[in-house]
Symmetry: C2
Subunit: 155 residues, 2 copies
């Protein structure tokens, strides 16, 4: 069970913008801060603009800024909007379902409740909550590549 | 956000076995009941056997039966065991993480809590809970292909 890179990058971009409330940020600098693809991030920023979660300004001095109050933007809302598909299993969508028992299946109900618990848990946090101390985050973004993890140091 | 077909089929197989407590079931009949791939289901049954969730008996009269009390088998435990990867985003695993801020990132904490809420919600249900009325399920498995959904009837 994974979120798509699209949602992952969307959350990262929103976090970066929220941690720089005093100015516009650019796709290039966000890509550099996380060492991720600029092209991928561009697609995500276009979607976030469509969703009116960020506002994009073109031209010299242009860039991206949050279009919503980060204290009001809930993480569950972001995930719901960015994930292409929250259908945990085939029977969640009438377009894909082929299962004979879905009308009476309690397994489906249990999975639907679990998805609700997941999103409700995310909705307990606003974007402002997860920014916390923006200075600490800004220092980490500026710190260069992440140190290799212990696991990758094993011979 | 989706579960893999592997987990989906595993849950279906366990449900089928739990709804037929008086006898062994075969991969062929489970595949036929759900109209899903017998080969795929065979791989899932091998994994469930390794996990000691089902017991497989070879030869004439052989087949699969639950190896655990369905009232004790929690859905969260099944999903944890069958999903190849519960790493919602890159930073959940030290093997894949490249993010500079993960040490201080509250977004990661929020996603970890959401995953916990998902699995805890599933753990509220045992396999026996979701079987409910096995006769109703058996009637549906025997009923032939699922009727086309409304959506697919649109011209």
């Amino acid at each position: 069970m994974q979120l798509t890179w699209f949602t992952d990058y969307g959350l990262r971009l929103l976090l970066f913008a929220a941690a720089h409330p005093d100015r516009r940020v650019t796709v290039a600098e966000v890509a550099s801060a996380y060492q991720i693809s600029r092209d991928h991030l561009m697609k995500v920023s276009q979607r976030l603009t469509q969703l009116e979660m960020i506002h994009a300004t073109r031209g010299r001095g242009g860039g991206l800024q949050l279009a919503q109050d980060p204290a009001s933007l809930r993480l569950g809302a972001v995930v719901r909007a960015l994930e292409p598909d929250m259908n945990l299993v085939e029977c969640f969508s009438p377009l894909t379902n082929t299962c004979r028992i879905s009308a009476a299946c309690r397994l489906k109900g249990a999975l639907l409740r679990a998805r609700r618990a997941f999103l409700d848990s995310l909705d307990e946090h606003s974007l402002a909550d997860v920014v916390g101390d923006p200075e600490a985050l800004r220092a980490l973004w500026a710190s260069g590549p992440a140190p290799p993890d212990e696991a990758s140091q094993r011979p």
